[in-house]
Amino acid sequence: MNKYWWKFLASGLLLYTVWFGFSGEVPRQPILNETIRNVYFHVPMWFGMMALMISSLVYSIKYLQKGKIEDDIYAVEFANVAIVFGLLGFLTGSLWGNFTWGSPLPKDPKIIAVEVGLLIYAAYFVLRGSFEDEQKKARLSAVYNIFAFASFMPLVWILPRLTDSLHPGNGGNPAFGKYDMDNSMRMVFYPAVMAWILIGVWISTLKIRIRLMRNKVNEV
């Protein structure tokens, strides 16, 4: 992960996103107007959060298999940055919602589900804070992390589809085609998702490196 090329890739994709995100062609829709461009900024926050949560889950499982404390550090820091992305997604969503749906926090199943999900993850950090012993903390929080992931994903992906939601792509079983995007938007949206995921991983690796160094310093 200390290689540089993917960091340049992330920067390039992000620049592409910003440029074509603000200047590219988008479908003309009532109420949404230009805010449809937020699909390039608000939605990738959630995709980035999901990707980081999956990474966190992978390292939690790895920790339970091998018991290496480094894997625990990876898991925590990925979860940490995932929550930051989630909060950014939440804030941007409430600004967007205020000017299109008429309320910053409408009673929408997807918003409620994500609130619950973020609280479940918050409990993960509370749980970690309540243990002194390092191995015990790591083992229990790894188990809880698996539980948190397994409850977060159905909450956000499945439950809103069972009812109706203001968010497109919910209610019934539509695929990606229902996101109100045309092909020129997809040309920006997919690179945007890639870019934000890579930025998230980049920040996480910085945090992980700090934690690993701190461990070394404490050992000496």
Partner: protein, 62 residues
Amino acid sequence: MKIISILFFVLLQQVEMADSLRQNGKIYVVAGVFSIITLGILGYLFFLDRKIKKLEEEIKEK
């Protein structure tokens, strides 16, 4: 006649509302969203920077 002229006057007048974010096809909502993300990530980077600085000082002391 007087009522009609008052009505006319009211219709001609623009109603002042706080709609600066709704102008220009709401492009400023997009700018706001992007600013929130940028601020959030920059804030996080500053927080990280402080953590690294603390660690560096600790290493120096040892």
